[in-house]
Subunit: 412 residues, 2 copies
């Protein structure tokens, strides 16, 4: 066998498809993106990187190298002649609400916590728990169980209930939030003690992420208007907390329970903890939607309004007019007492105050005004909280950071 | 409050974002797809539906209604002026190898098994097990645990090891294969007994799905050339089977163990069962890659070739020539004895034959020729198997069906 033939055969054997190595993070933290041409006239790179970039065509390949990027998990896509394209060379994809993005991580600094490392990994349980919230008898949630759990079969653990936002579901914290990696890494480094983390689905109109629920196929809507009317908050203790604390080895006391959430999940955390003042010693509100106009005055109007709709329906039926069914409205407002008497509830919650009531929000967040109003009210009631105003807007970049920071402060 | 104002407010309250109800399966099983215009000249609908469809523009919306479609899980995308677009109105998406597709299910007939129903659901555990296969010390796998498992804390269960194909990973069977739904539905209907199902990652070059492994970020390739050289098969019993059978309540005998896989996973199942003739009473090969030229003659050549590369490297170093490192090759061929003496191994496996040796493949599958060759050899050895030649090619449509059929035949 000649040397040449040998080498050809050898290279064939070792062939290494490097097509999936996209994008390329260079040593100076600039990042190179490429896209094979397909007759495009203009291609741009867009996403959570520092800015949009025009790409240039050479030798059948569109490419661009960005400015140096800070360590972070970045989402991106290509815009070719006005159309949104995914990167065919990068199998790393994540869904945020209903859009898919490619992503990459610059594995340094804060983003080191978002990357899988060779540490002991916990287990993620995807389970269904009994629920009467929706048409089906069960809802889906994801539970993180720390590595120590199985090796210490008699130990009990603190628990964090971690809630998603309005466009999300039970998978969001692990997918967009890199929560699994964050738990593994922080526990391995002793930055938080081993904990169980419960990530339920807080969208009352669905029972599971898209594709996992039968409702999507039945042309049900993915709206979550139902999630703002107290139903989820009311179901939380009997359906979620009780299930978790009877199926996992949890230390079932206030000192060992935390609840936190982003945006709508912050709203849910706020009201769940307020309506159950003896349950949580740690409350985390990340860019929370706050009272949302749900003050007692508004609630009174809603109740009156519902009463009027009832009357209207009777009249409508009498005169043969076409009045829509209002069972949905009745159903919605029957739990809004969750939001009533906010000040009394807050005062009660802070009589024996939680060890940490944590609020973080970005200086460009569209909810900043509401958060400030909520805090002004807390101030007037003498309720103590820890407040962090950060850079940035209503984004996963912030929520990942807030989660890491919050984890560093709980169960100490 | 006037009736008009009341109704407007009422509609605001009940607003239901139906944008996510795409596509619309009509009662005659035609399917209507829509896409808002964005200045496109031509838009087509493509995917696993019966054929490609041209879409037409009217009132700013591209749309098409297909012919009636058979009950099935369909993947699709839009092609607008030559660019591949996802459906912005459908959050149901699935990744197959590195491409994302939208999908929908016509929930009748065979596809009823692929849909979430209101039955008792099992639990999906995403776990990491110790492994020396790759640079890290752990690999990721997904384990399905039936609903009965937690309510019968002393019961033990049969186990199915279910392996993915060459472009897949530990998530493929649940995502593309709707395996979770299939297990839940078949167990609920008594069509298979409650079982534990283990879905490991058979891609030796990675340890977890894209984004879950650190290697993707380090520009490692997603190729799986390493998965064809015996390493996975050799690691299977010490690393996977032993881990599972010591961490889950499994009935650890041949009668209660099954192994099955698609394509490369069929190849792996074939050799894992053949090299461990006393372990599995049920073997399922779905569109399997078969001997793949890995006969003893070829293996002899590889060994000789490796020897020559070794010599060449010495010579190359002596003459200062640039010979690539060949540790990868050495590493690869050191486990190829897994494929040696195939006939002897098959004969041994069939001395005390498995209760079911199941082979299914489509009449348009590009691997059909190899499967036939493999079966001809089995015939010549007197090894009995159950063979199903179906319609179709190398596709998830077939693998889902084969899984349902195989489950109906095991642990009876």
């Amino acid at each position: 066998m000649t040397k040449k033939i040998l080498l050809i055969a050898y290279c064939e054997l070792l062939i290494s498809v490097s097509a999936f190595a996209q994008p390329l993070v260079n040593s100076d933290q600039t990042v190179t993106f490429t896209l094979p041409d397909s007759g495009y006239r203009h291609v741009a790179l867009k996403g959570s990187i520092d800015k949009d970039y025009k790409m240039t065509l050479s030798g059948g390949i569109w490419s661009v190298t960005t400015s140096p990027q800070q360590p972070e998990m970045y989402t991106y896509y290509f815009k070719a002649d006005g159309k949104r394209l995914l990167d065919p060379s990068n199998p790393q994809k994540v869904r945020d609400v209903s859009k898919i993005f490619n992503y990459f991580i610059i594995d340094k600094g804060i983003a080191h916590d978002y990357t899988t490392h060779d540490v002991l990994h916990g287990r993620l349980d995807t389970i269904w728990y009994p629920s009467t919230l929706n048409g089906m008898s069960q809802r889906r949630m994801i539970v993180y169980v720390p590595a120590a759990y199985d090796t210490s079969p008699n130990a009990r653990y603190p628990v964090l209930y971690l809630l998603h936002g309005s466009g999300g579901d039970e998978t969001s914290w692990c997918d967009d939030g890199r929560a699994m990696q964050i738990f593994d890494n922080l526990i391995a480094e002793g930055r938080v003690c081993p904990i169980v983390v419960v990530m339920p689905n807080g969208n009352v109109n669905l029972d599971a992420a898209p594709g996992e629920s039968p409702y999507m196929n039945k042309a049900a809507s993915a709206n979550n208007t139902g999630s703002w009317f107290g139903k989820f908050e009311k179901s939380f203790v009997p359906e979620i907390l009780n299930y978790v604390e009877s199926h996992y080895r949890i230390i079932s006391d206030k000192e060992h329970r935390a609840i936190a959430g982003l945006s709508m999940g912050g709203f849910h955390s706020m009201y769940i903890s307020m309506n159950n003042p003896d349950l949580f010693d740690y409350v985390g509100l990340f860019s929370p939607m706050s009272t949302n106009g749900m003050d007692d005055n508004r609630i009174g109007k809603l109740r009156k309004f519902s009463h009027n709709v009832q009357r209207l329906k009777v009249i409508g039926n009498m005169i043969g007019d076409n009045v829509p069914e209002n069972t949905a409205l009745e159903d919605k407002i029957q739990n809004i007492d969750v939001y009533e008497h906010l000040n009394d509830k807050l005062k009660q919650q802070f009589q024996n105050p939680p060890k940490l009531y944590y609020i973080s929000i970005g200086n460009k967040d569209f909810l900043l005004h509401f958060a400030k109003k909520y805090m002004t009210n807390m101030d007037s009631l003498g309720c103590k909280y820890e407040y962090h105003l950060t850079d940035g807007a209503h984004s996963w970049e912030n929520w990942r950071k807030y989660l890491v920071e919050f984890l560093g402060k709980i169960f100490r």
